[in-house]
Symmetry: C2
Subunit: 565 residues, 2 copies
């Protein structure tokens, strides 16, 4: 028997943008056909984008998605590609209860030829699928040139039983899975171990095709792969970029040939790239060309500025230094150096005269006066955003977000927060890595990286340093009163971040945290801060529900939604 | 056979406050015992508060709730109440998978005597229970003095099949249900119709005991009731207040005696009271004693101020007039009149000098300059909030929230938005009702209502008018540029609100909206505005997920959480 060539089309889709997503399927199918692929596999919910949240509940959207799948099948055939098996994801409708379904369809011979509905609907963490979709209850085996191809969608392989258990009895030659699996540190290994187990269960190689790209607050890392029944990695696509790779299935062979294996980035590069891709795609999908942000000379804003420059180019980054009477000269210099290194715009907007004007009326003291400074800066950042059409980016990190150590409507303003999920100690690590990458002339997979030996403005980098070392090494301070340090209000970050990791990520309670060896005072401080901070994160539109549908809890829409009826 | 007396303890619980909730159970059980009750029924998840969201996933919390139920059973017996059957809700744990369960327990004879786990877990609208809880799979019948009492929790009676279908075969004498059913306009009738159907199905009277009070962005309206098998309303508790009513079950009678039926408020009073209760409880549960808000002279801020005065007293309301060069004299007078009528604090903070200071540096034009004014006001409101420890309340209505017609970090600042779910035309209706209520000297169920013939400051109300008529009747304007009217940017509210109702509440698509008779230009304007506004509602902390648990999507915590380990 001859080989059957599978094309792994690891693409970046946009929620609601049926036209662009379908055009991308056309484009990649043409490319795949030129390389003699027989089957082309796309990610979960290719045509609709993923995750579509409550957009799935709109009947007009489901109708449009159905029409688009048919259009695509017809168009593929018209382009001479009807002989291929093009496997795409879309939204379907359960005929019994009119609920949406998470569907895989095969486009072949000019028609939507076969369909499979996702069986296990994840409803934990970032997933709300059981809430939205009705589950499928049938497994499906495709016949491609005599080979038996079983299919599954994402969560279907994460749970025991269900379609994979059925396919294990079906003597299949390959298990083809399409996924929308969001990035998370260390998840690559978890996915691989799982795939190995399922390949052994169905006694056939497994294709794990994952989505790539940022969608609202999720980042999909790609990293699609093929694994053999004995656990051999047969193919691995790169992370964080669109890619078309191939796998040749030889149904008569006991073991398959090993193909191309993309190198895995180191952990710092991986996290950095995830953040950059998230920002880049959020901007592209919401039509922003540039960002603005306050540059304090501190490490958070420095790292965010570097990420923004890598996402959209230094020339599209507008850094604003907003010194007060409490800002040190060092901080101002560090901010200016960073902007020059990145080739970013740099403006200085002193806030002292504005602070004086407010205080003439308000006469605030203590924390209220500190917050006033942060809020004046927020007003300035939003003025740049509104007048220049820029995305305001917030520079808060996970440690301060967890503890509520920020000013709402102040330093927390912004439409997107690139490092909101990085603890402060990680911010330092990643910043050091970014400097190393600049000095070493490293590229970042699929992304333009600003400044190797020189800044993108063409200015040589002093000692090859992109982010000023002082920003990384000095003691963190909000600089809202003389001599203020973060450590006046918070435990030292090296300790704080350890407690946060155990309390938040590992759900340790008070007794567990004490048993972990943390002292009582620290534990109580951190728990009190974290438990109160939810209030800051959930402001307006918190308010009573009076009508059938209020905004917030009972309407969950994607921010990015390109669907137009 | 003698009657069995059921006490319907319609109480207001607080999420996480195990101590206070248990104390309330003690208190109401004592009251019920004094009136010779045999069974006391409390709302869904009495001890933990409801909804507890991801707090349920914390093992330490579940352990504490379990300990509290046992403490309560012991304490009841020690107080001589061990002979009663006290039916409370709490969180349990599924022994098989360690997942939480939504549990009903009966405290009797000093022990936690019997337990039933909720079978149907709602996972739509405001509910996420399937996400959190593991479903129960056994029905339960209690024997109380020879009477057979079936039990069910909330959603269990909303779905066909399950425990109610089983109880229908059990020859029960009463179906006792505990509920946490959030308020929604018109829901009273829906609940009653459902209860009638279930009473007929099980051939026994049904007790529908509902929670009362505001919890984060939900309001529970109480309105507990008892219905007979033939659909006769036997008892009805008042809405929006704690209450202890009684129902005497005569198991030998074919039909039960009719008891006390509380009057139902008119639709405007109902909505107004829901909003006031939501705010009042949000403040109490988050330890705020007063509010601050901008008073523009417009109707939105006027209505919110009246609600706040009714919630916590005019003397705890801080109104701030923040006139600009574009504010009309009429607006300033209306704001001052309102504050006087409510007995509220009233400060004037002109924004023109602050605007001039910013413009000296920023030189903004157009919308950016308009937003600057709104944001200077936001800074002032938050300065009051921070310096005086007040809750900043946002005054936005549902029409402007839906269309994004507001300034983020400007008029949208606030921790709670009392009218965020009222369309603008409804704001006008409710305001007229509030004036009528003040003039007529009406009370509002369970709530202190400010100003009958006179304002609470003791000042006579001019013509009995609480909210200045001019605020209700003038054309709405943001007053951010000379002669500006809302209708420059939006369709007239009478039309806009109709389109919003069909587009949002009834999910009509573009074709449906045209078929509804709306003109194409209006439909396209409204759809475009609504589809874009999600971006404004979902700002920071939107950002990439990198670690196992990020804030936002995969951690869903109540804002109000009084649990301390």
């Amino acid at each position: 028997m001859t080989d059957i060539r599978f094309a792994l089309a690891q693409i970046d889709t946009c929620v609601g943008d049926l036209d662009a997503n379908a055009d991308k399927v056309m484009h990649y199918t043409h490319l795949a056909a030129r390389s003699n692929a027989r089957v082309v596999v796309f990610p979960e919910m290719t045509l609709t984008g993923y995750p579509i949240e409550d957009l799935a509940l709109r009947a007009t959207f489901r109708k449009a998605a159905w029409d688009k799948a048919n259009w695509l099948a017809t168009k593929l055939a018209a382009d001479g590609l009807g002989g291929l098996y093009v496997v795409v994801g879309t939204v379907g409708t359960d005929r019994e209860n009119s609920k949406p379904r998470n569907r895989l369809v095969v486009l072949h011979d000019g028609v939507v030829w076969a369909g499979y509905d996702k069986h296990f609907l994840p409803n934990y963490g970032v997933f709300d699928e059981f809430r939205i979709f009705s589950p499928g209850n049938k497994s499906m085996v495709l016949d491609v040139d005599g080979a038996r191809i079983g299919v599954a969608i994402c969560e279907d392989i994460w749970q025991d039983g269900g379609p994979v258990a059925e396919l294990a009895k079906e003597n299949i030659d390959l298990l083809l899975t399409m996924n929308g699996s969001p990035y998370e540190e260390g998840k690559t290994d978890t996915r691989f171990d799982l795939a190995v187990r399922r390949a052994a269960e169905v006694q056939a190689p497994l294709i794990y095709l994952n989505q790539v790209g940022g969608q609202d607050d999720l980042v999909f890392d790609g990293g699609s792969f093929v694994v053999d029944t004995d656990g051999t990695l047969l193919e691995c696509s790169p992370m964080f970029m669109e890619d078309l790779s191939f796998f040749d299935l030889d149904t008569s062979a006991e073991h398959q040939k090993v193909g191309t294996i993309a190198a895995k980035p180191d952990p710092d590069e991986e996290v950095y790239t995830a953040c950059v891709l998230g920002l880049k795609d959020y901007m592209a999908k919401n039509h922003f060309k540039g960002v603005c942000l306050g540059l304090s000379g501190g490490i958070d804003s420095a790292l965010v500025a570097a990420m923004a420059a890598d996402a959209v180019g230094g020339e599209n980054v507008h850094g604003i230094s907003m010194p007060s009477m409490y800002s040190s000269d060092g901080s101002k210099d560090d901010a200016a150096d960073l902007a020059r290194n990145l080739g970013a715009h740099y403006d200085i907007q002193p806030i002292e005269p504005l602070f004086v004007s407010f205080q003439h009326q308000l006469k605030l003291e203590g924390v209220a006066a500190e917050n006033l400074q942060a809020r004046i800066r927020g007003v300035i950042v939003m003025a740049y955003s509104n007048s220049k059409g820029l995305l305001a980016v917030a520079t808060g990190n996970k440690s301060e977000l967890a503890c509520g150590y920020s000013t709402i409507y102040g330093d927390a303003v912004g439409g997107y927060a690139p490092i909101k999920d990085l603890l402060k100690t990680r911010v330092w690590e990643i910043s050091r890595w970014r400097n190393k990458a600049a000095a070493a002339g490293m590229g970042i997979g699929g992304l333009h990286i600003v400044g190797n030996e020189q800044g993108s403005a063409g200015v040589p980098l002093p000692d090859g340093v992109m982010i000023p070392v002082n920003s990384i090494e000095k003691a963190p301070s909000a600089e809202l009163r003389p001599g203020q340090k973060d450590s006046d209000s918070l435990p030292e970050y090296a300790l704080l971040d350890q407690v946060l990791a155990m309390y938040i990520e590992h759900a340790h309670g008070r007794a567990d945290l004490l048993a972990d060896g943390f002292d009582e005072a620290t534990v109580d401080t951190v728990m009190r801060l974290v438990d109160r901070a939810e209030w800051k994160r959930r402001q307006y539109p918190l308010g009573p529900k009076v009508t059938a549908l209020a905004f917030g809890r009972d309407r969950r829409l994607p921010v990015t939604n390109a669907f137009r009826e």
